[in-house]
Symmetry: D3
Subunit: 242 residues, 6 copies
């Protein structure tokens, strides 16, 4: 099989066109529109001078995330979660994942008793929204930290290293990188991999949709993910330098 | 008092810079990003081949709206309504207003047994979000109707005429047009006016924030609103022609 | 067209029989049963020695309202909102309107750090319940203020002036005052007008149900509303003097 | 101990002044304002031509009840259940009791596939609201049945016999009938007894608030309840004959 | 009629096989698996060093209960209440009953400012779950008190006396003790009786399912309940001594 | 480091004492109490002759799971989710995982239009509840399938192969198998691995709690998981043969 046989026409190890646009909205301390191809997620970082009850008085900060999809970000309209009166299981699962991933790169003592909330709202979905959210939220988080430093509220940068995420899957027997919606639907296995800039794994979530995946397939997926994340981290750096 | 004394520096009868960007996202049958200055609302129109129970079998369609604000569309972060488990009173009030306003310009028999849902999501708020939502949703609605006609699902255009909305208020004793957030906060009276292209009133919602407003003040507000809506309708036409 | 052609047989500028019965129940600091014809709303004013969080320590009081309809206050039974687990959009919209209207006539500094809650519960509905609620709640509010003064808790009356409300509409092309349910259902335009005893407008909410209304129709509606509210305020005064 | 020592001054076996006012509101098929002294409950019976899913197609009807207290029916204001988003345990318990009690006196086959909902809303509370609700709801139910017979929808009366309820308690060691709020608060034992006109027990709910009650105390309570219910049933008959 | 005619084959005054197993789980301060025949309820007592707001600073403790059924504890699967988003009326009614019953045997001053929560979760249901819950929760409560005394947190035992509960009913005209599910479904009257070891009544809840019950039937039921409860209290004692 | 240094004293590659007890309750078509050491989960399989809407008429069945923890299954009491009114994010995440894992081993065509619901309720928690739930639910599922075959409702076994799950983690730098609560709390990385009896991976969920894990650590974890799951599958087989 050749890489060109992917529905997207991309090489098996090729990311979609990724764009990271800082300052997309003006109120938030960090505001990033991240695009992985047609997937577009608005990630804002909001700084508040308070922490959840379980951290009060401990001299530590908190980083948390919330996730949502606009009702018509998808091919057919989904019910608005606010109207249904609760967030679904998938939403809660994703926002917990985003929160854990970003906390993994923050020195919460250096942050002090502040909460940074990362709101990741999907404007347009085409697969990989949680990975785009993590990748974009990292940049928004950095901007919020710069804002805190510029105001003299913190003296050293609480960000310990970069974090990015990518999905990988097995499409017609071959591991492929960064699945779009059509590829995701046709994949036997779908895995989301969150890594840092030291090559360490932060989160690994793999699901066999069709047949169970073998160890050698897993190895192939992980290698692709390592490549993808390192490219994403380079793009984050470029965006932050821009 | 001179017009230049408005916080925004605009003339008392001057709209903000208004932009209407069609096709902002690709899944919806209509997708418009409307900007009234720094207020930016994404309005999508979704067509579904079903109607609510009370209309089933009557040969008529339905037009409805939902409204939401991204948590950090505002100066300080608001709780996410999906997380709180319900939509607040302000949200319900606005989405009912948007729905009524758009239904006022649609021949629901010509639409047939279809529902068009207008999702108005505020990406960035700076006053006047409900007026921007109505003005943008009208354009998204027209695009959805074109989509239906292009597919041959309907034969005549169900849109009876244009609808747009603007806010007016009394700022330091003077009626002013299209309030931004700072002006809105400082206004004694705030009124939202929805009108059609025949100069008719569809909705009028005025609230005295400070002193009750006199009849002559009301007359001044209505005159400004007529001017503003007619300019907005010209901008809608230009966008639809574009 | 002659006034006798209204479904109710009333003149076009004629209120229904309005009754204001103070002391309807005995626990509340103010308790008023207000009737606009067959519309009957029980309005109670409850005084509590606390304010919402955003006002704590500011030396100001708060006035708020809640609204409900008994399930069989209407022609066919409506679901009980407590059983459905949430208040509907119409309910929230109305209680926000009642709260704003009554706050408009209260000097919250003179009230001190107290909350007055106006509960408006519809025992029987025949159109115009929100206007009856505002008109009755004003009287209950005055009784609660008298109760506070009689106990020496406040020294000057926080009530700045009277507030009342009436609906107006266009029935078969003619503006008419104080719509009952049958008239309301047949009206092209329905407007609720809240005014004070100085002739100032506090709230204006107009909706075109059928065709959009013209400026001259609006002028006719406002003139009727002014007449109706001034009669209602006279009835409030008589009730309070009684 | 003499009977005059009750806080209310009533004899130990004396009901409060009981009034049953039919036709209190006009939309419901039965509408009764029942007063047990200062306790006033509005009971409406609503007929609907449908049954719950588990009865569909079985040729039987259903009788059910809902209960609510207006927020300021009590001495201090209670939160509105609709605003809190759920009915409390006490409310659910009472409405289940009212529903069972009224079903006990109805031949559901004779009713046919209809639902009668008894809404019992407390306008003013002074103890014994559930007993007043049952006693009043029975009269509203009879009126609804008469309405059905008058329209020829049913041919024989589905009501099998009268049902009424009263509370009894032990106040300073002595059994007393029909407790008002002050007496209820001071009672060691509180029992609600629902009986029919044949002297049969339909529901018995006794709670020891202070010391556990002995068998002889129970016997005394039941004798009082029998007396009270038979007086209430006579009052129901008089009201229905009126 | 002979006793052997009960569906269960038991004598009319015969309890099911009752087992009380202490220490069923290891985290709770008291943990009891109680079986009334095939009805099995896990009762845990949890001690927490806080009281509800209305008791704060009063030097008194609180005892409360929660009740739940595992979805497949019953013959056909019931919806999980956590998934439906609320506890049903029956659940709330039962947990209020269990809480009141256990509070009746506790000296809350001797407990001090602590809360004991009794969680009663039905693993398998075959009638009489609320009675089993009360009977088992009493033993769990005693174990929690022993735990508090062993740690020296309290000096005297707050338990004033034993509490147990049993159901009785009228099956084919004859009073029978301790109904299983099949008997309960076929009974005309069902009564739950909570008593203490002094022979006093704590709660009495009787419901006529078919015909109303006569006074002599009630007397028969109460006599059976007294017998059953005294046997249950002996079994509690044996378990606590074990 | 030697294996004996684990808090539990187990070898690094040693499972806890695992027990699988079939027929723990009698109503469900499958009912299994599974113990991984002190973690005890009751898994029931309920068969219903209906499928969710999206599968109706497609000739396929559905397998789904629900998860809950008894409030005092844990060291300190957790709020009851039914009382809080919603299932938390962790609960939803786990029950989605259990459902996906079990669906992975079922031929849904062979099941026909039936739903099997796997209720996994934690009676006692000591780490690894989700893995125990999956491992036990598989056995309950097999029993439900046998029940269907015994009644002749299905002719071939829809179970495609065995599924079991185990957690692995890095404790003080060393990969260890089957973490109990104390070990889990002290681990840098925690991974849940769901595999089938062919050695294929069904789900992989790894989280770095402290430092990100390296690729070689991941390899060590996966090897331990393979060993653990194969032992668990042997225990499932033995239980099913028993």
């Amino acid at each position: 099989m050749t890489a060109s046989s992917r529905p997207s026409g991309r090489a098996h190890d090729q990311l979609r066109d990724v764009r990271i646009e800082r300052g997309f909205t003006r109120h938030a301390e960090g505001s990033v529109l991240v695009s992985f191809g047609d997937t577009r997620v608005l990630c804002t970082a909001s700084v508040e001078a308070r922490v959840p009850g379980f951290l009060r008085g401990k001299g530590e900060g908190w980083v948390t995330a919330e996730y949502g999809m606009l009702p018509r970000s998808t091919n057919t309209r989904n019910d608005r979660e606010a109207a249904r009166g609760k967030q679904g299981g998938r939403t809660l699962e994703i926002q917990r994942l985003v929160g854990r991933s970003l906390r993994a790169c923050v020195d919460r003592r250096a942050l002090g008793e502040r909460t940074i909330t990362l709101d990741c709202d999907v404007l347009q979905a085409d697969g990989g929204t949680r990975c785009a959210a993590i990748t974009g939220a990292y940049v928004a988080l950095c901007d919020a930290m710069s804002w805190l430093r510029a105001r003299g509220e913190i003296t050293r940068d609480p960000v310990l290293g970069a974090v990015a995420a990518v999905s990988v899957g097995i499409w017609q027997g071959q591991p492929v990188l960064d699945l779009d919606y059509r590829e995701d639907s046709g994949c036997d296995t779908d895995m989301n991999v969150v890594m840092n800039d030291g090559g360490g794994f932060i989160e690994l979530q793999g699901t066999a949709e069709g047949h169970a995946f073998r160890r050698d397939e897993l190895d192939g997926l992980l290698a692709l993910a390592e490549k993808g994340v390192s490219e994403l981290i380079a793009l984050q750096r470029a965006a932050l330098a821009g």
